[in-house]
Amino acid sequence: MRELSNQNLETFKTKMMKYKKTKGPLIPILHEAQEIFGYIPLEAQQMIEEEYGIPNAFINGVISFYEMFYHEPTGEYHIGVCSGTSCHINRSKRILEELKKELGIEVHETTNDGLFTIVNVKCIGRCSEGPNLTVNNKVYSQVTVEDVSHIISEFKKS
């Protein structure tokens, strides 16, 4: 589970130490934390500060700059609809509206069961196959409004 637990903190510590010889290690370390916890908890930030001497406030600033790093816990599945130009003219907004309705949440919110967070998706380089919907790294192309509930239930089951 992607959550704040002692076990995950241990895992993070090991992973974080891999970057001792890396120049400019912060972004790769934040990716590790995001992957392990589903967000970047204060505890992890403090560990980075202790090991690497990067001030906590600075780390916070970096986290807030990048779309893919989160301050708060996020769902198991990051689900979103591409808002790029080509997807937009294939009416991607309607897909996003349907997604919000189905999950009962807005962009950047997480469902109560902790399963889904709706994220912003910008062009993912599959513009000739849009509209595109993504769930973590999985891409669904030429999605219709009707597909949305099927895709969601696929992940509810697994």
Binding site: M68, I89, C127
Partner: protein, 459 residues
Amino acid sequence: MNITELTKIKSDYLATNPIFNEPKNVHPLEHRIVLKNYQIINPEEIVEYISKDGYFAFSKAITMSQSEVIEMIIQSNLRGRGGVGFPTGLKWKFTLANESDEKYVICNADEGEPGTFMDRHILEGDPHSIIEGMMIAGYAIGASKGYIYVRAEYPLAAKRLQIAIDQAKDLHILGTNIFETKFSFEIEIRLGAGAFICGEETALMESIEGKRGLSRNKPPFPAENGLFGKPTVINNVETLANVPFILLHGPDKYKELGTEKSSGTKVFSLSGKIKNGGIYEVPMGITLNEIIYKLGGGMKEGSQFHFAFSGGPSGGVLREEHLHLKVDFDSLIPFDSIMGSGGIIIFDQNDCVIDTIKLFMEFNKEESCGKCTPCREGTGILFDMLDDITGGTANLDTIDALKYLGRMVQTSSLCGLGQAAPNPIFSTLRYFKDEFVKHIEHKSCSAGICTFDKVMEEE
């Protein structure tokens, strides 16, 4: 590893596995240099790359002097494919001239402009060509370390690049004393984290250094003061993928393709209301008509050509009357458009030009790094004005205000994002002024997209 061993790997492999995949969907107008191995070799097998003359360009470069390699690139007229078209050889020459104990080569694989996807295909389809291009650049300028900055939205590209790097290390193509010379080179992959601005070269460097991706003031340019303060060459994926060809076949052969000032080929990515969207590599100077009606197979069923956008949120609109124009780095500029990185989106009668530039401005506003005021505040206000137009709350003065603020943002922003953000507004005002007037005066949208419901909210 040395040239004899490389030749042996190639001939052994060809003797036992002489069959490669047939290239798929190659249009007769295409001429493939960058995509020569695309869908033909297995990108996860270095021997297949070697069998297609892979790493022979590097093995040739390393027998030449650094200046000779650079001279070849200068002679070829290769210009950067990341958007601006700066001469690649000159960039390398400046970086070679700056002495330093450490220098860097960066491959810019952050491709984030909506509608642009050629770099993804190159990275996924032929990752070794990028590595070889970077090694040649590294040798030419005297760098021993390279970074590939890949956007996190391209996990398959990152995976294949890592496999390619590992395989090259195993064969001692990357490492220390490569090809029994004094040259050493290693490559590290860095993942982006969803910030479009990190495609801007200095913001990208800040990001590798572990900071917020804020653009730096230029000068100093990266050739002098780049990554970690050291002289740095940064090139786009497609630029680097052209380099091995130039080394192997010579600049004259390369210049046979394309136009006088834009030599070689360009990979275009087509999308929108077109039949055959996708990527196509053609000589520079192909016309928009050929791009849309030959490569793209024409408009989709039920769609009529309305307008096209080239250069994404930094680019300009193109109308029917422009379709005879040749596309290269310079020829669209007099018409307030650019080739940019080669992403072309086609729109039909159901798409509104003002809704489109509003979407672009929303993108620019959200992706502005926020360091300089004109871009951070200006893109937001420009967006609000466009939103007034589609929302029905604008008046004709809004057009003057758009122009006034647009010029200000263009001329006073720190980096290319802000400097180019108003471009779509100016080109649209030039070619679709009637559409602005119609929206403002009659609250009517030709495409029937704009809802003009901002009025109702305020009443």
